[in-house]
Amino acid sequence: MSVYYFGAIALVLIGLYAVLVKKNVLKILIGLSIMETGVNLLLVSIGYISGKSAPILSEGITASNAVDPIPQALVLTAIVIGVATTAMALSVAIILYEKYGTLNVEEIRRLRG
Amino acid sequence: MEEAGKISRYLYTVIVLFLIWLLLTASTDPQELGMGLILSLVIAAFTYPVFTTRGLANLHPKRIVYAIAYIPYFLWAMIMANLDVAYRVLHPKRPIRPGIVHCKTALKTNPGKLALANSITLTPGTITLDVDGENYFIHWIWVPDEVFRAESDEEHVEKASSNITAPFEKFLKVIFG
């Protein structure tokens, strides 16, 4: 297994760890972002082909020596989606802080049962 | 300091943007040049009020000459700064004596003040902490005796200024006024 795979999975797990352990909503959201980063890294690594270059067919690069372009295209989309989710989450956190006066997940539980 | 006319400011902005475009593309393809021109014209149209107050006056030859001369001067100062830093970082005893000192500047324009602040930040053991009017507050990694033992505020300011701001000012005064 390559260092990229390893790093990607590590990022995903670190992010998940933050979600599972940290009490602060913002830290949890950072955890989510780290997970997303890990996933994106994984996607790109999967498309990588040893010894080949970015799939922009200029400067002497042709179809035969470019890496798989699909994962990169996917990651571009995934990144934007991640940004959008984070933006949503942050504005929700802003409201939460306004209404509850805290960002501790253990105190944000009016809805239960 | 009075503002230059709108057209002057606009044209100046267009020119700067187009120059940057040229650097970015480094291409003589008419398609690129044409597009660059269009974009410069468009973007300048809504950014020039923010970008400049003096307009084309910035392109006075004297200013350009001084600006070019300033580059090696500043680079040298910066390299010295870094060697100083290297010494302090690598020295086992870590010889530092930090503090925040107060300087004054004679520069009037905002770009000038910014250039000064940045120059200070990038050179010997100093970082600009705040700029308030003519007052510069600077974090100094090695405050010399003469400065921190100064008897009055005035003396402190004078000593500090001569150490920190003065060397750059002679260039910046001409370039930015």
Partner: protein, 84 residues
């Protein structure tokens, strides 16, 4: 191009050291400073990659990265300052 490995090693060490500061803190500004340094180093790394792969197009990426990183650092700094 053999030499590129030396640069990479230097950069790797630098990144690891900065990373240490990011995790260690102790203050948030400490972490931010470390992040700022890391972004600068990463910009350099991207430029080096451009050279390594002989792809000029990566330089654009480095510049975009530098711009976004600058914006981010400024935003965080202003946040820490209590100015937002």
């Amino acid at each position: 191009m053999i030499g590129i490995n030396i640069y990479l090693i230097l950069i790797a060490i630098a990144t690891l050291l900065s990373m240490y500061r990011v995790f260690r803190g102790p203050t948030t500004v400490d972490r931010l400073v470390a992040v700022d340094i890391m972004t600068t180093i990463t910009t350099g790394l991207m430029v080096l990659f451009a050279l390594y792969y002989k792809r000029m197009i990566f330089l654009d990426v480095a510049l975009v990265y530098a711009v976004l990183a600058f914006g981010g650092v400024i935003a965080f700094a202003r946040y820490m300052e209590g100015g937002l």
